[in-house]
């Protein structure tokens, strides 16, 4: 371990543009690790919430009430047709002003929703809008007749949705869901703009302090995101295989 650290320390001296500082400096290493951890947490939270938003939205789109359907449609249009970066800034700077504050230590007033909270909310709603449409497409692929069979057995509308429509729709829409979630993980870097200490934020702070570490840190960013996405895709593919039904489709 020390030998490796020593190697990079020497490399930084011979090649000043290739300062892999986080290979030998523990403080910088800590920044990368905490940034990575924040990115993972952001990603997991946003994936989970955006999928829930997608499921609820797709369910509401099937509602009888025209008003409910119009609300969902407006939501989709807004989040799909405006830049996610602007959405994030809007949530944090505009809506953030109106959220109540509390004072845990009796001194400082801190808002109930932190910048991390706003990043999760904004990114989840952004990706959720796409998820609604993805689930909707999957739901439309489920034959009406299968749902009628459930209806004639006395299933309620919710039971039909949960036990018949969703499991079948899921299988249809996994590939496009996969794509959207990959995009979402990459989009978490935008939280940088509202000072969420995620991976990009920490990386930038490293190369601001040590310009010589800029190239290596950028390289590291690419490698880490490739690995993160690989983990996600691996998990999704496993899931897709596990959900495959003998004799159905394909």
């Amino acid at each position: 371990m020390d030998a490796v650290a020593e190697y990079f320390r020497e490399l930084a001296e011979i090649a000043p543009r290739w300062n892999f500082i986080w290979m030998y400096d523990e403080r910088q290493q800590g920044k990368i690790l905490s940034g990575l951890w924040m990115t993972v947490q952001l990603s997991v939270a946003c994936v989970a919430f955006s999928v829930v938003i997608g499921l609820v939205g797709a369910w509401m789109q099937g509602a009888r009430s025209r008003i409910v359907r119009a609300i969902v449609q407006a939501y989709i249009q807004f989040f799909r047709n405006t830049p996610p970066f602007v959405q994030l800034l809007f949530f944090y700077f505009a809506l953030g002003q109106f959220t109540p504050t509390h004072s845990p230590d009796g001194w400082l007033e801190v808002p109930i929703i932190s910048n991390v909270g706003w990043a999760i909310i904004s990114l989840s709603f952004f990706a959720g809008a796409f998820n609604v449409e993805i689930f909707r497409a999957g739901i439309e692929a489920v034959p009406e007749s299968t749902q009628e069979a459930a209806e004639s057995l006395g299933f309620t509308r919710l039971q039909i949705y949960l036990y018949v429509v969703l499991p079948l729709a899921f299988r249809v829409c996994l590939p496009s869901l996969n794509n959207n979630l990959v995009n979402l993980v990459k989009t978490t870097t935008q939280a940088f703009a509202i000072a969420v200490p995620e991976l990009l934020y920490q990386s930038v702070s490293i190369w601001n302090d040590y310009p010589s570490a800029q190239y290596p840190t950028m390289l590291l960013l690419f490698v880490i995101y490739i690995l993160l996405v690989a983990v996600l895709v691996f998990g999704m593919t496993k899931w897709e295989h596990a959900m495959r039904i003998p004799g159905y489709g394909r």
Binding site: T146, G154, P167
Partner: protein
């Protein structure tokens, strides 16, 4: 589920009166009426598009009616205040295309409704479901998925699935129409067993030999009305209406 107060088993279990139904400008049912007594087997025959499926779907509320009345055990099916779930526990339905849940095994298909809808204990439902699988002669196929079963086998799972709800009336809509000739028989045998046990059955069918054998009464529909009806002994030989005669001459 209890029947409407005042309904007794000596009254018709299904009573259809003056039913009219349109899809847009297309009037599909133009005043249809008949009664079915408990334990009876009714066959509905008629040319394609004459409204047979629509009629049968109205009986369990899958289609709404515009006029008239349909009562099951004395309860008006199209009463907006009616508990639809209660109706559907009394009326089982089997479709032409089986419509099994493709992501569930045969046994799970049979168990799903009693567990979810009737909230019966799983172990109890499973024991009953296995018996039903045996009854439709599908022992050993419990853990196959619908995609791994033949059409005839799928249709028998669909019948078992309906029976698991312990219905009082079974509706069959051309349940053998999608099957190849060899497998038609295995499904018909299953239905015949049911009829012999006293299940009230309404069948839409093109299987005239079967209708003649099991039906207590046959109704012939054409363009949204019942043209002619009678017990099988006389229906096939003494049909009076030219439309019935023509239909029978084509199909027999």
């Amino acid at each position: 589920m209890t029947a409407e107060p005042g309904w007794t088993p000596d009254q018709p279990i299904v009573s259809v009166k003056g039913v009219r139904k349109s899809f847009g400008d297309n009037e599909v049912l133009k005043g249809v009426g008949f009664d079915v007594m408990k334990g009876e087997v009714i066959c509905i025959i008629g040319p394609s598009g004459s409204g047979k499926s629509t009629l049968i779907r109205c009986i369990n509320g899958l289609n709404e009616i515009d006029e008239g009345s349909i009562k099951v055990e004395g309860q008006e099916v199209h009463d907006p205040a009616l508990d639809k779930l209660a109706l559907r526990r009394k009326v089982g339905m089997v479709f032409q295309q089986y419509n099994l849940f493709p992501h569930k095994t045969a046994l799970e298909n049979v168990m799903m409704a009693p567990v979810l809808v009737l909230k019966q204990p799983k172990a109890e439902v499973e024991a009953r479901a296995r018996k039903l699988m045996a009854k439709v002669r599908l022992e050993g196929k419990e853990h196959q998925y619908p995609g791994e079963l033949s059409g005839g086998q799928q249709q028998r799972v669909a019948i078992a699935r309906s029976l698991a709800m312990n219905p009082d009336v079974m509706l069959f809509d051309e349940v053998t129409a999608a099957l190849d000739p060899e497998t038609v028989k295995e499904v018909l045998v299953t239905i015949k067993d049911l009829a012999a046990e006293g299940m009230t059955c309404l069948l839409v069918t093109h299987e005239m030999g079967f209708a003649r054998e099991v039906a207590d009464h046959i109704y012939f529909t054409d363009r949204g009305v019942i043209v002619e009806h009678g017990p099988p002994e006389t229906f096939f030989t003494e049909a009076r209406d030219p439309r019935t005669r023509e239909f029978l001459s084509q199909i027999l």
